[in-house]
Amino acid sequence: MEEVIRAENLTKVFNKNIVAVDHINFSVYEGEIFGFLGPNGAGKTTTINMLTTVLKPTEGTASILGFDIVKQANEVRKVIGVVHQEYTADEDLTGYENIMLCADLYGIPRDIAKKRALELLELVNLIEFKDKHVETYSGGMRRRLELACGLINRPKILFLDEPTLGLDVQTRAAIWEYIRRLKEEYNMTIFMTTHYLEEADALCDRIAIIDHGKIVAIGSPNELKNSLGGDIITITIKENVDVTNIIYGIEKVKDVKKENGNTYKIRVEFGETITPIIIDTLRQKGYTIVRLLLSKPTLNEVYLEYTGKAFRDVEESRESIIKQRITLRRARK
């Protein structure tokens, strides 16, 4: 797999004392959806802004398709598409005019731009609203328009900063669907950030958990969950006999705990494959299973494990709070 983004000791310090991003290192490979997961104020937007050449790193560097984000910023800008956390479309223009404005900024020839704009509006289901002012759009429509704008230059890499911020659950699911479809249609690499655990879980091939500007864990959602020591099988049998040792004897069972009643909590690496073996073993010995539950650790637990605290937001600068408030207000429309 080809490496398309590489960050080395990427660091951003604001006003000489706020360390927003702290010496992070990671690589993103061609064709994957790579997610930055962290609470508000973790440094996600700052990272995206550096990668998309909007902010200069204080220290360290990164390259996009081999182009240095500082020294070859203009080359980088040509090959990326960016969908910001805020709704950046101009409210006083129509959806179509907004896309065409983006096309002008990239210098895409007018005739190509027109064709592509309509195609993209079609793709995100906004074609019938294309001549309406963005002011009248709902949060979900605005986000789709932003997606379309971010794709006008056929980017190799698309950056999505909190693509579903403030949207309700259904709209969020719809946006995920669009993102998946866009990725397939245009075969892009996607770098996205989110502070929704479910979103990272549902969309991303690999996740970096970021906390206070540092990457604390990196891997696929399953890898991360498995790194916690695996799944939990909760099993209850009818017989009033202690079977702890029998279960413990099964291969790959890491831990067994007897709880009150005849219930056992079993920790295993890959629950799906071990569960049938446990069932078979117990049956062969003549026990009757009355209840069984296989539960996988969630990212929430992963997060708790790596950061030592529940998923909660940290204090933020006034500027980011204002920006976010504007975004949320518009999302609710």
């Binding site: 050449t53 040509k78 950046t88 500027e319």
Partner: protein, 314 residues
């Protein structure tokens, strides 16, 4: 991997026009905004232009002479011995009027203050039209629009220049409204005025707008809160207007103020427009005005570009 994605070349002109067009649309497509742009000069014209009736001070009606004025003998020293002289009031008032006209002509170059002031108002409107450029960049930053533009390959300078051009167009638009209104209300054009002069007027306004909006943009380029550009506007707009020849000629100002007024670019804009409209055209004065305005525009817009390179990206 195909690295040859640079099929498009973001051009300065295209990007500049796209961004400027966006700004222009905001007010050209908005009837309420347009009405405001026309109302503002209209109100000024009604309140300031016609109420500051300076030539009225010197008119005979203000003196209110009786038909006959008696002057006692002791007030007359030559020829001696005359006990009383009676002056014809009507004639005297004529003399007063002439003196008044003379004073007006000497101080303002024209005999009616309205014409003088109307042109001053053109300069005022240029200042107010440009002072919003700083706020609009802060607004763009807040809404995230600026970040979006910065992440595209469009040349950085276009971001600043689109704002400059927008204020220049707006200034020209509002100035035209003022000039048209003033003409309807009795602006007295000099005999040297021709239609071609209007091009000169626009050119002068354009130059000053570039310079002024560059200042307003430069001070707001890194600001994240609206208060910053507003404070700057509050700080410089009034002194800028009062230390120029908008209301009064420089020669009438206290000595310490005169050098400031002679350095004030507004003075040169106002003078250029007056030369092109109400005054008998003095070519050499006009050339000096244009040289000054051009230098002002070039120097400040270069500062604007340099700052946009340096500071748009934090």
């Amino acid at each position: 991997m195909n690295l040859k994605t640079n099929e498009y070349h973001p051009s300065l002109i295209r990007g500049l026009w796209a961004l400027t067009y966006r700004e222009l649309k905001k007010w050209l497509n908005d009837p309420i905004m347009l009405i405001m742009f026309i109302l503002q000069p209209l109100i000024w014209m009604g309140l300031l232009g016609k109420s500051l009736n300076i030539q009225g001070l010197f008119s005979s009606s203000n003196v209110n002479l009786p038909p006959e004025i008696k002057i006692p003998g002791y007030a007359i020293i030559y020829p001696p011995g005359i006990t009383q002289v009676v002056l014809n009031g009507t004639w005297l008032s004529q003399i007063f009027t002439n003196i008044g006209m003379n004073i007006m002509q000497k101080t303002f170059g024209v005999t009616d203050y309205f014409s003088y002031m109307a042109i001053g108002m053109v300069s005022m409107i240029v200042v107010t039209a440009t002072m919003f450029s700083g706020m609009s960049i802060v607004w763009d930053r807040r809404l995230g629009f600026l970040d979006k533009v910065l992440s595209t390959p469009v040349p950085r300078a276009t971001i600043i220049f689109s704002k400059i051009l927008n204020s220049a167009f707006r200034a020209i638009f509002q100035a035209s409204v003022i000039l048209a209104l003033a003409y309807i209300l009795g602006l007295q054009l000099s005999s040297t005025f021709t239609i071609i002069n209007i091009i000169g007027i626009y050119a002068a306004i354009f130059l000053l707008s570039i310079g002024l909006s560059s200042i307003f943009l430069a001070v707001s380029i890194r600001a994240t809160r609206m208060e910053r550009p507003m404070q700057i506007v509050n700080l410089i707009v009034m002194p800028l207007m009062f230390s120029s020849n908008i209301f009064f000629p420089i020669s009438m100002m206290p000595e310490w103020l005169q050098p400031i007024a002679s350095a004030n670019p507004l003075t040169y804009l106002t003078d250029a427009i007056r030369q092109l409209t109400i005054l008998p055209l003095d070519i050499s004065a006009l050339i000096i005005d244009f040289i000054y305005l051009s230098v002002f525009a070039i120097v400040l817009s270069i500062i604007g570009i340099v700052l946009s390179w340096k500071y748009l990206v934090k």
